[in-house]
């Protein structure tokens, strides 16, 4: 089992799970799916500079072999953007759920299942306070 195999498998599993969740009907699952996909994308970007173990990315007199620093900068940018976007999409789905009483992405006004417990009760409260 090589390092490459491990990283490639991790990316594949994350993307598969992410796509499955992103295609679900409810916003919470979709948000989780998008988060998984973005983790996979970050790993993928990181691996695009080739996987190197134990080498510095910054110039040093004593070292002759380096790892590519650029993907690390790219991943940092991508992480920052994804982090902000995840926070935004969580708040947005929450607002949408509270205002419309439905947490379905396609916006159908289906009341939440009773067995969903807390979510069901919040939906009913939201229904009452709506103008």
């Amino acid at each position: 089992m090589s390092y490459e195999f491990l990283v490639a498998t991790a990316i594949g599993v994350l993307v598969a799970g992410g796509i499955y969740l992103a295609l679900r009907a409810r916003t919470f699952q979709v948000v989780l799916g998008l988060t998984l996909i973005s983790y996979a994308v970050n790993l993928f970007l990181f691996a695009s500079g080739r996987l190197v173990v134990g080498r510095p990315p910054i110039w040093d007199k004593a070292v002759s072999d380096y790892t590519d620093p650029l993907p690390q900068a790219l991943v940092l940018t991508a992480i920052v953007i994804t982090f902000g976007m995840t926070a935004f999409v969580v708040i947005l789905s929450l607002r949408s759920f509270l205002e419309t009483g439905s947490d379905h992405v396609d916006g159908d006004n289906v009341p939440c299942d009773a067995q969903d417990g807390m979510a069901g009760r919040i939906a009913e409260d939201g229904e009452d306070t709506r103008p």
């Binding site: 973005s38 993907p71 976007m85 916006g107």
Partner: protein, 506 residues
């Protein structure tokens, strides 16, 4: 170094400075915030026109940010196409801002004006950048601002459409990053000009990977451009957005088209191996389907704003029929039509708002209602906007479609392209006539509609858009010559590569 040397980066700097200033002064002195926004838009227009004059002789201005040489640092490239898009963005921004201020839409939330400036920053940056990762970053800037603008005014309908819009675009951004990672792994560069040169050296065993990466990237641009079958997000989003915002969003689909026009000849040119002209087999059918879907939507739309949103899809389809030829002539015709269709779509969204403001509960539904104030004058403006959107004379849409028809006649599939363009024009004319007669001609119910604005001030912005369209028609000789020259420049990646990779290195 003088200010003139930094001209290329000003379209990014000006809104980036204006946005926080607007945000700071909004609480205490809203009038000052409006003044700063308008001043920023005027400054952007002046900068864009100056840039356009500088590059009109064919020079390509390469600006190395932080003086880091081109393949390593980020480079901004101002050529004819970029300058044209900057001028178009600045004009559209002024129109949308004017409408927002006149109708008071900017006062329905605290941060409208600041987000508006950030949106302009993202748009201008996307048009100027010569680096693929930087293109991703500016896409994110404009998308994040657009999320805020789209939700401006709030309400359940906007929140529902907003969740879908955000989710779709987040998936699009992930695909963009995956494509970028693959390109970096294959070529070791992110600079567009440099990548175009290096793709020729990709070894045979990696050609499959290269093709996948190129198709992924093109799919992302197609998603932004709302090309069928990736158009489903657009109508719901645009139809429920605040109209001034929807008018500004008219350029957002054009960002996707612009990216295709910029990236495909530059990166996926003749020497790109398996990625050479990679979208070519799919673009023409997809464009024709989009045109048909868009104008069929115009035909069946239930409200004026929904109709305008479908018109955006239809006009993007028509535009891409021209782009899919990838010849200097058809691309030039497409660029002329791009400028026209952006302004025409904005005019449609703004007229829809003008109507909705006067019809009370009827809104902009395409059904007869009571007689409303200034119906005759507004009907004229709507008719002019509809003429522009469908491409009838005398406005610039007619010239644009004529140029496209003439240029695609040289292609193999010209019969299909002609049939689709002429057929969709007819469907569009009937669709606009149907909705127009329902809203402006027929009367249902007694009495007049509930109180609307007494003045005609809110007609200023749509009229300004139509005036620009008339100017585009009057100056069609000059405008289409500029568009043709821009197309020739875009299709000559070697020229751009020389400018970017040597000048920026000095």
């Amino acid at each position: 170094m003088t200010l003139a040397d930094h001209l290329s980066i000003l379209p990014v700097i000006i809104p980036a400075l204006a946005a926080p200033i607007v945000m700071l002064v909004m609480r205490r002195r809203p009038a000052l915030g409006v003044a700063v926004s308008v001043a920023s838009c005027l400054a952007l227009l002046a900068t864009a026109i100056t840039l356009m004059m500088q590059v009109s002789d064919g020079t390509i201005l390469a600006y190395a940010v932080g003086e880091w040489a081109a393949p390593f640092g980020i480079v901004l490239v101002a050529d004819r196409l970029a300058a044209m898009m900057l001028v178009l963005t600045a004009c559209l921004a002024l129109i949308a801002l004017l409408h927002a201020v006149v109708t008071g839409a900017d006062r329905r939330g605290w941060h409208f004006l600041a987000l508006f400036q950030f949106q302009l920053m993202g748009l201008n940056g996307a048009f100027l950048t010569g680096d693929l990762f930087n293109l991703f970053v500016f896409f994110e800037v404009l998308l994040i601002a657009s999320y805020g603008l789209m939700l401006h005014g709030q309400g359940p309908a906007r929140l529902k459409a907003g969740v879908q819009y955000v989710v779709v675009n987040l998936v699009g951004s992930s695909l963009f990053l995956i494509a970028l990672g693959m390109f970096y792994a294959l070529t070791g560069t992110l600079n567009m000009a440099d990548m175009g040169l290096r793709l020729a050296a990709v070894p045979p065993e990696d050609q499959g990977l290269l093709r996948i990466a190129a198709l992924l990237l093109v799919s992302v641009f197609a998603l932004k451009a709302a090309v069928a079958p990736l158009h489903l997000w657009l109508v719901r989003t645009y139809a429920v957005s605040t109209p001034a915002v929807a008018a500004l969003f008219a350029i957002m689909t054009k960002v996707g088209v612009y990216s295709l026009i910029r990236v495909v000849p530059q990166v996926f040119g003749d020497g790109a191996g398996a990625a050479a002209w990679v979208p070519a087999p799919y673009l023409l059918p997809a464009a024709m389907v989009s045109a048909v879907i868009g104008f069929a939507g115009v035909f069946v739309a239930r409200s004026l704003s929904e109709q305008a949103a479908y018109a955006v899809i239809g006009s993007t389809g028509t535009l891409l029929i021209a782009v899919a030829g990838w010849s200097a002539e058809s691309l030039g015709a497409g660029l002329y039509y791009l400028a026209h269709s952006t302004l025409a779509a904005a005019a449609l969204f703004l007229v829809a708002d003008v109507v909705a403001r006067r019809r009370g509960a009827f809104g902009d539904n395409a059904s007869p209602g009571p007689v409303f104030a200034q119906r005759g004058g507004i009907a004229l403006v709507f008719m002019a906007a509809a003429i522009a959107a469908t491409g009838l004379p005398p406005l610039s849409g007619f010239i644009g479609k004529l140029l496209i028809l003439k240029s695609v006649a040289a292609l193999a599939d010209w019969g299909w392209a002609w049939g689709v363009i002429l057929g969709t024009t007819f469907i569009g004319v009937v669709g606009f006539a149907r909705v127009g007669s329902a809203v402006f001609w027929k009367t249902a119910g007694e009495g007049t509609a509930p109180t609307g604005p007494a003045t005609r001030a809110d007609l200023a912005a749509p009229t300004l858009a139509l005036a620009l369209l008339a100017a585009l028609a009057a100056g069609a000789g000059w405008a289409s010559a500029f568009a043709d020259a821009a197309a020739v420049q875009v299709l000559d990646p070697a020229q751009s590569a020389r400018a970017v990779l040597t000048e920026a290195g000095q």
